[in-house]
Symmetry: C2
Subunit: 247 residues, 2 copies
C-alpha cells in the first residue's frame, strides 16, 4: 500500500524529516521552476529518490487536492505503539489524545499546532476518528512527519496505561467548572484529551480523567472549533513552562 | 445580489441572530425530518420566512459545499464602517485585523474563535484577503452573524485611525522578540493584527504597531496555522481579563 503526499510544502517536509520512506516524486511538466521546486529536486537528488516529470493530465485523479503539480508516493505513516512509547523515558512531556475528531482539516491543524508547541505524540483511536490521510498530511504542512502518532484500539485502555505510568490526564469539556489555565502544567507528564466536534469527550474518558477543564466563553455562542480550542490550551501549557524556566 | 448559506447549523444561526435578511430557505424533499430541521422550520415560521421543498437534484450546483440538503438565500453580509465603529463607545474592547488571510477555512475559524473570545469586530482589507463567502460562513458555524465585520480599502489608514482613537495595535510576527503573553491586555482597547499565511504582517503595519509579539515555538518547525496562532493569543487576553476580574 502507498500514500500520496500533495503539494510543495508537504513533499519538502517529508524529504527534510527523512522519517518517511519516499518511493517516487512526480512533478507536472507544465510547472515553472521556482525556489521551492528546486529545493525539492535538490533534496531528492541528495537522498537518491527518483523524480519524474509527467503531463499535467496525470494529475487529474488528484484534482480535488491542492497538489500544486507536485506529489510524492510514500510508504504509509508509521504509527508508534503505545507500550513502546511509555517504555521510553519522559520528563515534563505532553501528548494530545483525540476522542472522535472526524474532520481532516481539524486533525491536520491539530497535528501542526502540536508540533509547534513541542507535544511529543498524538493518540488517535483506530475507529470513530479520521485517520492520517493525504488531506491531513497536507493541512498539517507536513507536521505529521515531525511527531509520533499513536493509534490505539481502545482509548480507555490507553488512558489507563498512561495513568499507571504517572501521566496526568486532562480532558477538555465545555461544561467543566475549572478553567484550563487554572491547572499547573509544570513538573509533570500530561495528556490533553479533546473530544469529537459535536459529542465532546466520551463519558468513560471523562470519568477516568484527573482534571476536566473548560475554555471560558465570552459569548454564549456555540463552541470553539476543536483545533482552535486545543491551540488555546496547549499554548497555555507552553506559557507556563517557559515562564517557569525564566524565573 | 444574493448570498447562499449552506447547512443546518449555518441556516439556524442566521435565523437566530436575526441580523441577516433571509429571502428564502430551500430544503431537499429527500431530507428526513430531524430536530435541527424542525427547529429551522419553526424559526422560519416565526419570522415569516418562506421555505420551499425541492428535488435534491436542485442542489447539484452546490455539490462542493456540505449543504446537508438545506440552504438559505440571504442578503449579502452587512459590513460595518470603521468610522461608525470608532464613533461608538468602547471600553476594554478587542478587535482582530487580518492582513492578507487567503484561505476561507482560516477566515471562517478565525471569525468563530473571535466570537467565542468576545472580540467585537474583525477588520479585513477589501483586496488581498479572502472575503466573507459561503465557505467562510459555513466554517464559521454562522459566527459571521454574531460579530461586526469591517471592510477597509487601506489597512494602514485603519490602523492610523485606531491609534488616533486610543486603540493599541499589537502585531503578531514570528521574528518578534516579545512573547504574546508578556503584554498586559487589561484596561485598554486593543487590536491584534495577524498576517498572511506565508508573508506575515506587512511592513507598514509592523512599523505602525505599538507592540510586535511572537508565539514561542518549541520546535523549529515551519509556523503555526494563522487561525491557531490567533486562538493562542486571543485566549491569553481572555485569561488575563478574567483572572483580573476574579482578584
Amino acid at each position: 500500500m502507498e500514500d500520496i503526499i500533495f503539494g510543495k510544502n508537504s513533499v519538502t517536509e517529508a524529504l527534510i524529516s527523512g522519517k518517511r520512506e519516499i518511493n517516487k516524486i512526480i512533478i507536472s511538466k507544465s510547472l515553472h521552476s521556482d525556489q521551492k521546486l528546486n529545493k525539492i529536486k535538490e533534496l531528492a537528488r541528495e537522498r537518491g529518490i527518483v523524480f519524474q516529470f509527467v503531463a499535467k493530465e496525470k494529475f487529474q485523479p488528484y484534482a480535488e487536492f491542492n497538489h500544486q503539480g507536485v506529489i510524492a508516493q510514500v510508504a504509509p505513516i508509521k504509527y508508534v505503539d503505545i507500550d513502546d512509547f511509555l517504555a521510553e523515558n519522559h520528563e515534563n512531556s505532553s501528548l494530545v489524545i483525540l476522542d472522535g475528531v472526524e474532520d481532516s482539516h481539524n486533525l491536520g491543524s491539530i497535528i501542526r499546532t502540536c508540533v509547534c508547541a513541542g507535544v511529543e505524540a498524538v493518540i488517535i483511536p483506530s475507529r470513530r476518528n479520521v485517520q492520517v490521510n493525504s488531506t491531513v498530511e497536507k493541512i498539517s504542512a507536513g507536521a505529521v512527519n515531525h511527531i509520533k502518532i499513536i493509534k490505539v484500539n481502545s482509548l480507555s485502555n490507553a488512558v489507563e496505561k498512561l495513568k499507571k505510568s504517572n501521566w496526568w490526564v486532562i480532558a477538555a469539556e465545555a461544561s467543566a467548572e475549572q478553567n484550563y489555565y487554572d491547572v499547573d502544567y509544570n513538573d509533570m507528564n500530561f495528556a490533553i484529551v479533546m473530544g469529537a466536534e459535536h459529542a465532546g469527550v466520551s463519558k468513560t474518558i471523562l470519568k477516568a480523567a484527573d482534571f476536566i477543564v473548560k475554555i471560558p466563553m465570552l459569548k454564549s455562542f456555540n463552541s470553539l472549533n476543536v483545533s482552535n480550542a486545543l491551540s488555546a490550551i496547549i499554548f497555555e501549557t507552553v506559557r507556563q513552562r517557559l515562564s517557569k524556566v525564566k524565573k
